[in-house]
Symmetry: C2
Subunit: 225 residues, 2 copies
DNA sequence: CGTATGTTTGACCGTCGTCAATTGTAGTGG
DNA sequence: CCACTACAATTGACGACGGTCAAACATACG
């Protein structure tokens, strides 16, 4: 099964060939921005360690968290549309990232048609990821949404050879609630409930998944085929 | 202000140059598919008249409406990722469309770098459109969601020189509910309520917007700057 | 014309948002 | 190092929005 929310990863040979144009940046510390909404779009970024959240601000000032990014994942390629970032990207803790200048990327695309197609595929993947989130928000309860997020984080950390069952949440309850369309209180309550049922063990941001199968069964639980 | 949900449109010169490779297809009638989920991806499509809905089916059989497309709008370019459509596209009524073979499109891209970039912009626009829907589903009430949809339809029809205040909804209440994460009953109730307040006049699918400003004020109404 | 499908409306109730208070955590300066 | 403060998280009480179940009504298609 495909993981929900899974952003792009640096896996293909094509993208490995980008390594020559990649620049390591100085480590960011908590709440430090990679770019702001409105900034000129110049680069995309890959996370080496730490975590990033991206969010956009509506006309009325409402913030919407649009994604969480973990080590190995790529972010920052919103704003291709008009060369301006629509999201703001913030470090959720001490975070080190690589910068991939987009002009270099475009130059390579000319000589490497496969790269161009590959990039379109990456964007298409983001679209289907968004559409899974839309389904989640439209049809799933608070429990199911949070279970999905925990499973996604677990899966994505596992791919990076990190523990899929014990990890530290990089984001606040408020961020989770914002992302999943829930209030802080509801997020907190669901965490408490999950712990009471023995699905997880949870000390503030320190998470241990005790019953992975149980969590999975919670997702898509109300509509069986 | 930008319209919610607004899909791609055939406006640019670049895309006009595609006209030579465009093929008109025989008119579709109601519930006839353009393509099914799983079909090989070969073309994208532009609507001449009528309307299309696209939806994808989850592992558990749940359907999720992912978009409604009106005359002048482009659809069907999901599935670029793996050359297979993830959505099914159905005619909502008698509908006539054009087919734009994607191979032709890729050939043109080589000689027209601008076209390539333009296409990426189109995809990026779809992403921000999805993210607006995510915000809507996460943070807005039933009234606000439906008001947003009505305003979007109004705006999109207006761009095509059709009446922005009197039109026929091409989709069912169930489709609307599915798209907006609501039940049929709630959709129906909100329509009734809007009519009672004098925001719209509504006879089944026949809609007349009586108070456009009133509808607009309903959107983003609960969080003022 | 009749049947299937779509739409409306009502009654009921569960989930989750709101308001409020308390506790826990982290960062700062004395 | 500890006190102080600001912020994050938890928990409770309460109510509203919207989902569920059910029935009546309208529409459309054969």
């Amino acid at each position: 099964m495909g993981a929900l929310f899974s952003p792009l990863t640096l896996e293909s040979d094509d993208l490995h060939r980008l390594s020559e144009v990649v620049q390591k940046l100085a480590p960011l510390h908590k709440n430090q921005p990679v770019f702001h909404s409105g900034d000129t779009f110049t680069s995309i970024y890959a996370i080496r360690s730490g975590a990033i959240k991206s969010f956009c601000v509506s006309d009325d000032g409402t913030e919407q968290v649009t994604g969480f990014y973990l080590p190995g994942e790529i972010f920052g390629w919103d704003g291709i549309a008009d060369n301006r970032h629509k999201n703001t990207a913030l470090a959720l803790g001490t975070t080190s990232i690589c910068e991939i200048p987009f002009t270099k990327f475009e130059e390579l695309s000319v000589t490497m048609p496969a790269l161009q197609k590959h990039f379109m595929q990456l964007m298409a993947r983001e679209i289907s990821s968004d559409q899974r989130l839309i389904t989640l928000l439209g049809k799933n309860s608070a429990k199911e949404r949070i279970a999905s997020l925990l499973l996604s984080l677990s899966d994505r950390l596992g791919r990076r050879r990190l523990s899929p069952t014990r990890f530290r949440l990089p984001m606040s309850r408020a961020d989770i609630g914002n992302y999943l369309g829930l209030t802080v209180e509801t997020v907190s309550r669901v965490f408490s409930r999950f712990q009471a049922i023995g699905l997880i063990k949870c000390d503030n941001k320190e998470i241990e998944i005790l019953n992975l199968a149980g969590l999975s069964s919670l997702v898509q639980a109300h509509t069986e085929a």
